[in-house]
Structure formats: C-alpha cells, structure tokens
Symmetry: C2
Subunit: 378 residues, 2 copies
C-alpha cells in the first residue's frame, strides 16, 4: 500500500486553522475540519479513567447521533480536570461551531490538547470561529495539521488511495503527539477523513483493527493521556458501492491501516527529545497480546531507552525488561538481537520461543532533551 | 522506633570486603558477612522471570537447607543471562567460601549485582577469598556496605534495637541500589543481620510484612531487576526467649520494619541522578494495594518526575497518571495536593475518596544526570 506523507483531503472535505490566543507563542492553535455531506464517524478514546471534557462530550454526541459534519480541535489547553465548567466550555465550542456551519451541535466533534488542569478560555475560541469558518478550503488541511501540534517538532499527515468497485477512495489522516504517548488507545489526536461509502459496522471494525497494530503499538514515555483520540469521518462522496464486508472491506481496512501506521511511526519518530527511532520486533510469542506486552515493556524501560541513546549495546536490559513484563518467558527461550546503534533508526529483534505470534512496536530513545522539555512545559 | 543510620553488627556476626578486580575502577567489589553460629535465613527475591544465577542458587540452598553461615556478594557483574556457566560460577563461589569458613556450601548465600549478560570471572572471586575470610571483623561491615555499591553515591545502613524478654535484640541492615529500582520485590540487595532467637515461621512473616510496606513501596525507574534480593540471617545469639508470635513477635516485626523502611528511603534518596526525594501519600483508597497502585503510577510517570525536577507544579500529570493506573477513580473523587517544589524533599498528597486504606511510596525525580549515568554504564 503506497502512502503519501502528505494531507490530501478526500471529496467533500475542507479545513482551516487560525491562532485564537490559547498558545502563548501566538502560533495557530485552533483547527477545523468540515464535511459538506453528512459523514459517519467512528472514534476511539483513551482508556484513562480521568478524561478530558471534550472526550466526555464526544462520547455523548456519538451516543445520541449518527451523522457528523465537523471536527473542531484546539491546542494549548487540554480542557481536562476542569470539572463541569470544562464540559460547558466544550459544549459552547461545539454549539458555536455548529451555528456558524448551519448544522446541529451534536454533529460536531470537539478535541483539545495541551496542559491539563487549567480552565479553557472558550471565549477565545468563540471569537475566532467566524474567521475560521470563513476560510475553509481544500489546502486548509496543511494549516490544520500544524495547529494541533504541541511539543511536536514536525506536523504529521499521511494519505492513501484505494479502488473499490472501480471508484477511487481517498483516506487522509493528520495527527499530533510527541510526549505523553503511551500504549493504550488513544495516545494522541488523529483525525482521519475519507470519502468512502461504508457501513457503520465496517468502519468501526476497520478502525479498531487498524488502531490495535498501529497507534496502540507506539510509545514514547508510556504515559497514557487523558485526551487523546482517533476520529474517522466517512462521508461517502467517492460514490463507491457501499463497503460492507469481504474483499472491499479488506481493501479499505488495508488502506486505513497503512495511513494509521504511517502516522503512528511519525509519532514515535517525533518523540520528545528523541535522537533515535526504535523498532522492536517480538516474534515466536504465544499471542499477539503477549508479543505486544513484551515489546512495550522493552520500549517503556528507561534503562533500555537511555542505553540506545548512549549507543550502549546493553542487551541485558532488554532481557530484564522482558522478564519483568509479566509474560512467562524463560532465559533459555529468550533470544535478543540488537542492530547497530550508531544510526538514526535502530532495530531490535526478540524471540520468545513460545509460539507463532508477533508484534512490532515503535518508540524513541530517552534523552536529556526529553527532561528539559518536560521540566519546563506548562 | 529509633533507627540508627549506621551498621551495628549483632552478636556473632563479622564482615569484610576486598577489591577482587570485578569493578573496572579497582574499588572494593566483594563482601562477606559471616555468622559464627548457625543462623536461620529468610529471603525474598525479584519476581522477574529472568533471574540471575545466584538467585537460582540461593533458592536451591534455601530449599535444601535450614541453617546458614554466610552471605557472599559481589558487585561489578550481575551473573545474569549467563546460562549454565553462570550457575556453575555461583556454585564455585559458594563452595570456595564454604571451604575457607569450614561450613557446608549449602549454608552460603550468594548474591551478585552489576551488568547483566556478561560472564562472571569467578576466578577473581576465588583468588580473593582467602584474604577476605582472613580479615573478618565487627567493623568490616563498613567495608562490606561499600563493596556492594554500584552506581550508589552513598552507602546504606540502618540498625535498630529492641528488648524481648529482657534481652536486647539487634537488627542491622545494609543495602545497595540506585537504578533499576522498581516496585516489585526485590529491587536491590539488602542484607539484614539479627541476633534474635526466632522461629522460621515468625521470621518469614515478619520479613514479608516489612518488605510489603518498605522495599516494595520504593521506585526509582520502575525497572524490576533480575538479581535483587533481601536476605535476613537470624543467629539467635541475643539469648532471648524464642520469638514465636504475640507481643514479642510484634516488637521484633516493628524493629525489622523500621530498619527496612530506613534502608528503603535511602534507596529512593540515592536514585540515579536524583535531585529530589519525593514522598507520595495516597489515602482514602479501597485497599492498600489500590493505594499502592495509584502511588506507584505517579512515582513511575516520567512526566511527573521531570515536572518535579523542573519545579513545575503540573498537578494535571498526577491526575493523568492516577487515571491511567487501572484503578477505578473518578475526576470528582480525586484530590491532589503538591507541597512546595523548591525543596530537596517534596511531598505529594492524593486522596481517592473511595475508602479508608492508604499507602506511602518513595521515589526520586528524573533528571538529565539519570540519562547520563545509564547511557554510559557498562
């Protein structure tokens, strides 16, 4: 599957971004994605028990409603741990956006990212909405992908196309995330737009399957965020025969997974302070989950991550992390191979001698710069 | 309970240390603790599935045998992930020590700490044993506590005395640990000597109870080691009425726990690269384990640890870590209070509004120095 590392909006979508004053730097911090046709939505959210107000609101909208028109997302403030005031702020954001777009408030999905525990100044968002809506365009997605960044050092976008029933279907994703990237859905913001005509069930299954092996296999610091979410909007504008199951579903799922994998790898590559992009292959596990547990235990070990940073081929730390991961591994069955450490991209191969399942996890090294970024971030 | 931050060997114990050449620095790296009377032993080991050869050997000795005479411990090499050769090396160390002391090999407990995955040069240990044994003395414990250090910046010892049936009982512990300090028994080496006369059952129960709230409530980097162990030797030389249960057992358990707590706090205070000693109190939990889970989730969060390093009062990161810990907490029920961050000792109070249980966990901050130490360590 060819994936283009760029945002190519599917039919019927437009986007835009502005600076509304939430980021101290004055950089763009408010993004809008609009579908002129009603779109199905499928979302996956963090499993953190403390969730941000916009996550609560999105869950409510997804429960009450089946068609969606817009994604509004701000950076600079997570609107989390903000109580009932935070919910009201998210609701106000949705209502104002809906009013300007001429749609129902429950057809708007709201997302926030940034600092936790500070009240969101929704007034700034509301004031900026008219010019945000007025400037919607096809190329506005480039501004949108930048406006959702926090500590990211580069913006993240990926697009893929597939042919279903003779019609070209486009899938376009943008994502943000760099720190507080942990291994349990969902650990960043990712918005995926497609013009595929597809059933809700097939869209949900395709997303769940894609997330399992992509976003849920990325970790920077093992910290599961309170906010982060993956949302797919599918507006059906490609005009393909409706995707329900079988071969068409497989083609779509493959393209969606390719876009998610491309974005997920970008998240790891842009890990806060990272100097290395690390791929950890675990094979010969009993199950995928067992392989993933072992791989994530290594990926989240600060001792492993600092060893890679220091180009220190200390494979004992890998054995230690696998042994502590909770899986039933034996010293005799464990094989560890570290690729060269003097490169930007480092590959670790681990074999457990327990079965035929495998999993690949992506991560970054732990560096003094990670600490500098997070000691100062507020 | 008054605890003296020094090593005061109980009756019947002597110790010594020498440099046998395992540490590149040439510093002392081989410690011996000897009890002239046969002693009961109680040990707890790491729950890592990959364990060092000396852990395997100790388990074998503890299974086959009930009376012990010596602890031999080297730093500079963990003798872990070293296969059957590693077991043979540990066995040779025990046999040589036993031969020089005139005791059975199975009455010797062997411990190692240092790098994982490199063969231990047991020949160096065997060559140094004659002078190590010849120099055993009461004050040799000061050399022993230093010889077990790896990246520790200070040596760790604590002693307490209690009166049982009119006789003074002494409990003396030494410990090492600074990195690879994680929260699941046992994450360092700790050797505790007592002259208490006690039943095996009571000794085992007292140790288990003490470890649960002390060593198992300390974390530096969440990395559970392959080697680390707590061993208590009780030689009965205090001449007290045998401790079995009831009041005497409670007095002994309290003193043992005080020694363990004192050592555990030193481990956190000496966390690799630490600039802060952090105490995390979690209260109003359903159970002790729930409180501990929440406290350790915060203590192991790199985002929390870097925030404390940066004196950045980002309490949202605490809420995020508690929410991701797996316990069933609600935003409404969660209360977080951070003490002043501009001090060496930082106190965090967290209330869950779920019950009456509490737990206190000790940790350190995450600093660029931690990364420097672990990027270079080999």
């Amino acid at each position: 599957m060819d994936v283009i590392p760029d945002a190519i909006l599917p039919k019927g979508f437009t986007a835009n971004a502005v600076a509304c004053g939430l980021k101290k730097s004055g950089k763009p911090d408010l993004a809008l994605i609009h579908s002129s046709s009603a779109a199905l939505a499928s979302c996956m959210f963090t499993t953190n028990k403390i969730v941000a107000a916009p996550v609560t609101l999105c869950r409510e909208h997804l429960k009450k409603n089946k068609v969606f028109h817009a994604i509004i997302a701000n950076s600079g403030n997570a609107n989390c741990f903000t109580g009932t005031a935070g919910i009201a702020d998210a609701r106000r954001t949705a209502a104002s956006t809906a009013s300007l777009l001429g749609v129902k408030p429950i057809s708007v999905l709201v997302f926030s990212t940034g600092i936790i525990g500070k009240r969101l100044d929704a007034g700034k968002i509301v004031s900026a909405l008219p010019r945000l809506c007025a400037g919607l365009s096809l190329r506005g997605i480039d501004a949108a992908k930048k406006a959702i960044m926090t500590t990211d050092t580069f913006s993240k976008a990926a697009s893929a196309q597939c042919v279903i029933g003779g019609r070209r279907v486009t899938i376009c994703g943008i994502a943000k995330g760099s720190g507080m990237i942990g291994p349990n859905m969902a650990t960043m913001l990712a918005f995926i737009m497609t013009d595929a005509y597809i059933t809700q069930g097939c869209l949900d299954r395709s997303l769940k399957e894609a997330v399992r092996e992509t976003f849920n296999c990325v970790t920077v610091d093992g910290c599961m965020s309170t906010n982060d979410s993956v949302a797919v909007l599918a507006n059906g504008r490609a005009g393909n025969k409706k995707i329900r199951s079988g071969g068409d579903a497989a083609v779509f799922a493959r393209a969606l997974k390719a876009v998610c994998l491309s974005l997920a790898k970008m998240l790891a590559r842009d890990g806060e302070g990272a100097t290395k992009f690390i791929t950890i292959h675990v094979k010969k596990a009993r199950t995928f989950d067992e392989a993933r547990t072992a791989a994530l235990a290594v990926a989240n070990s600060p001792l492993f991550k600092t060893a890679v940073y220091g180009q220190n081929p200390n494979f004992g730390r890998i054995a230690c992390a696998v042994g502590a991961s909770g899986i039933d591994v034996s010293e005799k069955g464990l094989r560890v191979h570290m690729g060269p450490l003097d490169r930007k991209d480092v590959v670790i191969n681990i074999s457990l001698s327990r079965g035929d399942a495998a999993c690949t996890v992506y991560t970054s090294d732990l560096t003094p710069e990670y600490i500098k970024i997070n000691a100062e971030y507020n």
